[in-house]
């Protein structure tokens, strides 16, 4: 089970995914941090078959809403990429899908962001959402290990 936190800590709410990854890592969960650049992401999830990717998203919903999508069966509604490559998380999922390189299970936990200015802090709504996201990630990790008969985090 792998958790991937995407984003840029220096761009306000875009740092939400990274913060979730850092938090769950302290709880013993195997978590990686990515900028969201497509090729690096595909490479990162190639090492796992059950992945939760956490990223800030913009869908027009109120800031702080936490979404959970199954990337294999649902089209991702929107994501914010501060990657300068023009290839971000949504593109990575689509590209990996076309190339047959999606993990067996890929869930995307999206945190609705509000502001993405350089050097800014998390908005209060997103700071609360990070707490909710951490709990949901931990719940998923526990579910994974129960399902695989070992209630132990990596």
């Amino acid at each position: 089970m792998l958790v991937i936190g995407c984003g840029n800590r220096d761009r306000s709410d875009d740092g939400a995914g990274v913060m979730v990854a850092e938090r769950v890592r302290k709880l013993g969960v195997h978590a990686e941090i990515c900028t969201g650049e497509s090729l690096a992401l595909i490479e990162t999830w190639s090492r796992a078959d059950d992945v939760i990717l956490v990223d800030a998203v913009v869908t027009g919903a109120p800031a702080g809403k936490v979404w959970l999508w199954n990337a294999r069966s649902q089209r991702i509604q929107g994501s914010v990429s501060t990657s300068t490559h023009g290839l971000g998380v949504a593109e990575a999922i689509e590209l990996a899908h076309l190339l047959g390189r999606l993990p067996h299970r890929l869930q995307v936990l999206g945190i609705e962001g509000r502001r993405f200015d350089i050097g800014g802090d998390l908005s209060p709504e997103v700071a609360c959402a990070v707490e909710e996201a951490v709990q949901r990630v931990v719940a998923e990790v526990l579910r994974h290990y129960r399902a695989h008969g070992k209630l132990k985090c990596e």
């Binding site: 900028t35 650049e37 090729l39 690096a40 595909i42 490479e43 300068t84 490559h85 023009g86 290839l87 593109e91 689509e94 590209l95 076309l98 190339l99 350089i118």
Partner: protein, 437 residues
Amino acid sequence: MTGRGTKTIRVDTLARVEGEGSLYIKLVGDRVADVKLKIYEPPRLFEAFLRGRHFSEAADITARICGICPVAYQMSAVHAMERALGVRIDPEVRLLRRLFYCGEWIESHTLHVYMLHAPDFLGYPDVIAMAADHRAIVESALRLKKIGNRIVQVLGGREIHPISAAVGGFYKVPTKQQLSDLVPELEWALEASLETVRWTASLEFPNFEQDYEFVALRHPDEYPFNEGRLVSNRGLDIDAAEYEDHFVELHVKHSNALHSVVRGRGSYLVGPLARFNLNFDRLPEVARTVALGVGLRPPVKNLFRSIVVRAVELVFACAEALRAIHEYEPPAVPRAEVANRTGVGQAITEAPRGILYHRYALDEKGLIVAARIVPPTSQNLRQIEDDLREYAACLVAWPIEEATWKCEQAVRSYDPCISCATHSLKVVVEREETGED
């Protein structure tokens, strides 16, 4: 439409370039009235906040300017500091630095050739649409990029913003085994790069040549990375220390990135075409042979063909990486001891997009009192505008949408890194009719 007789084309985001900016082209009848590459990304002020920092910090701070070419920033920084401080490095360290740069060139050129540039030639909006029809090509790209990343990781500690480069050498050097583990994938990468040259050469290119002043490093024996004199096809032949006597940076109102010109002459071109044209004889035989085999010989004056030249440089980078690994012995002194002292040092190295100039002045405590950084994209900005003025004039009869698309494609040929030059690109082409339709 902006009024009677005036047509405006807008592309709000020019995709597949590094960073943020916009392009504005105004056509009046069959004349190009104005071209502006507007770089609105805020200035990043690295030169200012380097002041007061210790010389040992510059490589890691400047690496943060770019996620694509951090090795270039580290290499220009450490070489400039070594000149300022009178440091000589171990020959094995020199070899490792070449290998380090190979990793970055493989990463950067693979990204641009396959992911950013190829969709233009194959008629796709992006690499994802391309992947649906050209799966094998995109698979190759992922594998190639991975080997580039691995080299940077093994030498630099991590793939992006590596942390091992130091003034005097490396904080940590790899074992022979760590490098020889890279060989099988690099051998595959060399073959894949040769195939990339043949494939890119088979693409169709717009017929657009310009009489460029090409500027690149030239080394007595090697295809250039970290050393050599700065030369051009118009007689320039200088040491890095003389750079500011010959090149001047200009502020233009529409750009937060400075424009660079050759004093007394104007715009010039840096990057793969300049390197290839000025250093063809320094390429390893495998790269020269494949280039000649597809009819690519210097001088290449068509920027659109830069995709083929980048592929040739991929061949070079893979072959050079294999050579470096083969010859490698761990250095006796991985990092020379460096004492604080006053000094001024300049260095130019060949980033994937072209020459990157750094100059530092240090005080007696080894603290930076002045820093100057001239990245490759800001050196090409004036040339991009000059080219678009010519190229857009060839496109006046084309429907606005296609003309706009072609101008975007032209900009992408430079592989501009606006993040380096300051950071995404919006394109506006405005057409004003002079007579009745």
